[in-house]
């Protein structure tokens, strides 16, 4: 099989351990070097805001769901950051929703509930579960991806769903 160079589909669910801090530090150093206000690129800005969102998720209070659920733990949060960073390497669309699940997962959604929808739930440091639904073609698909495995299937489903993303 011919392997195309570095597309999202070639990315794996893997992440340099200190990369989150690197993103922030490198971006800010670039700004300080020019003595200009820090103006991140769109992608950097989104990743930085995403990190803040994840930090808020792990600080959710016990019982945040009104039924006693605990917040996601830091390992799952790190897994979510690794996963999103891996997907964000090349062309991709930001999820329309980022939320905690009651079991301690971190869930991302793309698409539209009324037509094509994709969800990706990071359930631990190295495991994510996904679900795809296409109401127009009457198709559902779900699966699991582990750290080190290809994100090709996921990237393909995200690309498909993102074309139908819109706010409710």
């Amino acid at each position: 099989m011919t392997r195309a160079p570095a597309t999202v589909s070639e990315r794996q669910f893997a992440f340099p351990r200190n990369r989150v801090a690197d993103i922030s530090i490198v971006a800010r150093n670039d700004a300080s070097r020019t003595n200009e206000p820090f103006i991140p690129t769109e992608a950097q800005a989104w990743l930085l805001s995403f990190i803040e969102e994840i930090e808020q998720l792990i600080r959710l209070p016990r019982g945040w769901d009104s039924n006693g659920a605990l917040p996601p733990d830091s390992n799952t949060a790190l897994g979510a950051l690794e996963l999103i960073y891996s997907l964000a390497q090349l062309r991709w669309s930001q999820p329309t929703v980022t939320t905690a699940t009651r079991s301690g997962g971190i869930q991302f959604e793309w698409g539209n509930h009324d037509s094509i929808y994709f969800e990706l739930e990071c359930v631990s440091r190295d495991t994510a579960e996904y679900f795809f639904s296409d109401k127009t073609r009457h198709i559902e698909k779900e699966g699991i991806v582990h750290s080190g495995e290809s994100l090709g299937e996921i990237a393909s489903l995200i690309r498909h769903a993102q074309r139908f993303s819109r706010q409710q």
Binding site: S66, A69, T99, T101, R102, S103, G104, E119, E121, E140
Partner: protein, 143 residues
């Protein structure tokens, strides 16, 4: 407390309406008004066997939202038991969900659970299709 619950009746009629309580969305969730399938997933860390709902004929919306566990700003969404039992995935396959009374011997009147044929498991498809079903009711608040 309903007579049905306290006497151990284990059947809920299809025409009954049930409420599912949804906590307020965290301020960082974008968009904030987006009801997600995550609202219809079990808490596996607590070994939940089913998804908690409340029978409208026993608990009013106000009672569900004023429960001591309820977070201010919560709202409910609703569906009939028949709709839940007849829920299908997008391929048209019946999800075989049921709604069973679980009032804890009368301590939690009107409480019931949506369960799959395998208690303790609600598939991602079931969560998504439950989300779509309950979303049709729109938000119901005290006022």
């Amino acid at each position: 407390m309903s007579i049905e619950d306290s006497t151990g009746d284990d059947h809920i009629d299809d025409d009954e309406v049930v409420y599912l309580r949804v906590p307020p969305f965290p301020p960082f969730q974008k968009p904030q008004n987006w009801l997600t399938s995550a609202n219809f997933k079990l808490d596996l860390r607590k070994n939940e066997q089913g998804l908690s709902v409340y029978r409208a004929k026993t608990r009013s919306v106000m009672q569900v939202l004023q429960d001591s566990n309820a977070i201010p700003g919560s709202f409910v969404v609703s569906a009939t038991v028949g709709e839940i039992r007849n829920l299908k995935n997008v391929a048209g396959t019946l999800l075989n969900l049921d709604v069973l009374p679980r009032d804890d011997g009368g301590k939690n009147p009107g409480h019931a659970e949506i369960q799959s044929p395998t208690p303790g498991q609600i598939s991602k498809s079931a969560s998504k299709n439950l989300r779509d079903l309950f979303a049709r009711s729109g938000r119901i608040t005290e006022s």
